[in-house]
Symmetry: C3
Amino acid sequence: MLVDQHCHGVLADDLDEAEFGALITESDSPPVAGSSPVDSALGLAVRRWCPPVFGLPALAGPAAYLAARRAAGGAGATRRLLAAAGLAHLLVDTGLTGAAGRPLLPPVELAALAGAEVHTVVRLEHVAGGVTAEPHAWPEAVDEALATACAGAVAVKSVLAYRAGLAVPPGPPSRAEVVRAAGDTGAGGPGTDRLTHPVLLRHLLWTAVGLGLPIQLHTGFGDPDLRLAEADPALLVDFVRAVEPSGVPLVLLHGYPYHRQAAWLAQAFPHVYADVGLTLSYTGPRAAAVLGEVLELAPFGKVLFSTDAYGLPELFLVGAAQFRHALGRLLASWQADGACGAADARRIGELLSSGNARRLYGI
Amino acid sequence: MLVDQHCHGVLADDLDEAEFGALITESDSPPVAGSSPVDSALGLAVRRWCPPVFGLPALAGPAAYLAARRAAGGAGATRRLLAAAGLAHLLVDTGLTGAAGRPLLPPVELAALAGAEVHTVVRLEHVAGGVTAEPHAWPEAVDEALATACAGAVAVKSVLAYRAGLAVPPGPPSRAEVVRAAGDTGAGGPGTDRLTHPVLLRHLLWTAVGLGLPIQLHTGFGDPDLRLAEADPALLVDFVRAVEPSGVPLVLLHGYPYHRQAAWLAQAFPHVYADVGLTLSYTGPRAAAVLGEVLELAPFGKVLFSTDAYGLPELFLVGAAQFRHALGRLLASWQADGACGAADARRIGELLSSGNARRLYGI
Amino acid sequence: MLVDQHCHGVLADDLDEAEFGALITESDSPPVAGSSPVDSALGLAVRRWCPPVFGLPALAGPAAYLAARRAAGGAGATRRLLAAAGLAHLLVDTGLTGAAGRPLLPPVELAALAGAEVHTVVRLEHVAGGVTAEPHAWPEAVDEALATACAGAVAVKSVLAYRAGLAVPPGPPSRAEVVRAAGDTGAGGPGTDRLTHPVLLRHLLWTAVGLGLPIQLHTGFGDPDLRLAEADPALLVDFVRAVEPSGVPLVLLHGYPYHRQAAWLAQAFPHVYADVGLTLSYTGPRAAAVLGEVLELAPFGKVLFSTDAYGLPELFLVGAAQFRHALGRLLASWQADGACGAADARRIGELLSSGNARRLYGI
């Protein structure tokens, strides 16, 4: 059984073809004419692993699949997909509350459907975005809101990469700087929909360091809202060094196509971990090669599995199946080459599947 | 039959060993002592695919090959090499007119030798470099020259990566900025051999957006004239977003070693396409792995084949053969792994070989 | 027999488990709880190649290995490990003099134990750091110290990547700039432990160009002291162009994860070479794939083997064995695919193993 160290809620509804297609891409646009949403590496992975859950052959087409899914009903389909994923623990980022214009299933209902234990990951920017306070009181109001939100949580999450990029100055901003920034009436300030002020975002990170929970950071690819080059985890190096004395773990999510840089950070710094979640789902048939690239430098005790599933329950199964298949192929090829033994392969597999996450999050 | 969505003219002449060697590298220097121009991945690919056209075994040495080529005569050799490439359509960038000090074959003669339909790709900087006008009249003069040059063309091409790097501000420069830049008497202005002024280059791009034709952009590796890090397509993201509302397609040529970044852009944005041309030729025995990397994120409906052949007719055959071989190997490995079916593989192959290009360029 | 074109001295002592573990990582921290220093790709490679030297099976565990190593004695173990590496020439960077708080074996004793010929590589920053002179006399004092140190040396080495990053202006600083920088009393000036002033470091490089020896530059990954993104060899392009007229060879060490960028520089510029040393050791079971990536663009006449061994004699054997195994696997796969013939494979192997280094360093 796997520990899914980073995921989101799902829709347990019936979905039509357009909704389904929209949920299996990081893009916010339909595919080009003459093409379909499953014409991608991720699409192949969905078609490979999901149809058998409903009695269809692997790689069945989207129409047959959606018909079988509908026949199972939204909740039934979700339950079957989640059960097939074989997940013991889910660490759910509660900062996203809807998808495709509908509310996501609350974590407790997700837990029930999945038959898994659910833990909370608090999204820093989501909590801070809900804080209304005068500028001079903003730092304390945010700190209090975060402390409250983090009661019982196992980790926090930052989407700094989307909001301001990862090239942040190393240390925390001064209180005076934060208050000044909180009074900034331009875009990205506290009164706006979307907190993007770099000083405020940095304050959140250092408040999180003070809370002591592991910090999950989005790095690498994501939706079109991102400036990819600014999501290179190598840009975090000064922040990583500044956090090191605190011992607070930093978990670099996704990383791709900068996953080798993330792996170097995990090798060089004792408190840095590398996640392979979203990457193995999206790269489909290539997942074993990409996982291999992560393991070139990342210590085996520092690599974490996740699905980063969001919206579609299929993505839990796909994430888990891709990870198991890629890991199995990779380790089999290493053994065939004489590079590791069967006991080594079992041990590596156990660390990545659950051991590292259990140790890191204390679950 | 393939659609070669980006290529150049060739020399249909007899070539001596030095000329031949100089044309099979992006370098402008001879190889190190004790080495030869075919001591490279591209060199292996040339030796693999071309000798059989002249009745020699694959991997025959350069001396035997050049003797057989000479015996066939320049025009005869060119015809045989092009025929072996199996190309139905050639999209020719007409911005380069010579190689190794000799004029390239005009497109119409290339078409005749290749037995293929030829279409024109207009190089923006080449057209603009030929415009002489007073600064205040430069914008309109360039716009008119481009409109004229693009009559009957299927795409335009930009070498911005070489001239100013891809990190351009998102929007078009104002007319006043362009006029001011056109009056700049320093290097890179309108009166000089080589237009490099960033404002003028940006004006060309936005004029092209106005024309509505797909814009091919050089990204990634090239000759020594390039600052590689500035050719990372990820740097284009703001420009990509600014162009999105127009719907004008952007085709990221080459990309390597930033092809995964190009693939992300193609996945995230509806109007972005990724080309695998030059890359599969140059990486020789590694082409299947590199193509696999592109297909990790790029939707199968967004990936385009080209040869980027220039000067040597061999490069048409090598580009086509490398693409077919790499694609065949990659898809066979996916099928062997259970990641896709035979019908899926045929469909993916058809999209990349010609379907995507036919749809994009309306041919 | 291989030419190891970049390595360091070793400790020929008995080592306990903690010392051994500390020497097989670029990190300066112990592994996470529940993990061990050999839980990494490099750890697997050490366990694969070293135990058989002491009569143990490949992949034996650390405890059994260390016991067998101790039984052989420090000097005896070192001799056996070095002999098993099969190295004809060692180019030793003499800028590091200790490891784990003990002095490294002097080059002449290393030569005796290895049964190899030893050549000196002078570390620029190490020599310059020992120079004490008034600011106005600093340039000449450094130039003289370097000229003296380089008598009999075959190359120099720069750790600019660690000290100031590789994005240096192209040309040499003026004498006035150097004198001014030498008078800078802040951190990184001549009177300090660690020379980091960019102007002074640049002066060293250009002094080295004047000496005419090949310049080895650290690029890519290394210990936690590094800002990885600043070690991308692509950032050197302006310096590379400025050095080109001198003909002085530039050897890009390591490169990973920017080894494809290093390979492009080696392809584009006649005086640039790419090293695969440290990378093939650290990437363990993935070494053949990574070597393949280097050979995508790098001409076969420009790629160099090294071990970058430091401290542990095991790292000489691991570097050599990893290189031989990776090269063998890669070339076998190329032959199986029809991409090269047996004679081609032998020739490529000979160039990378020793031919390129013999030609470049005149040994």
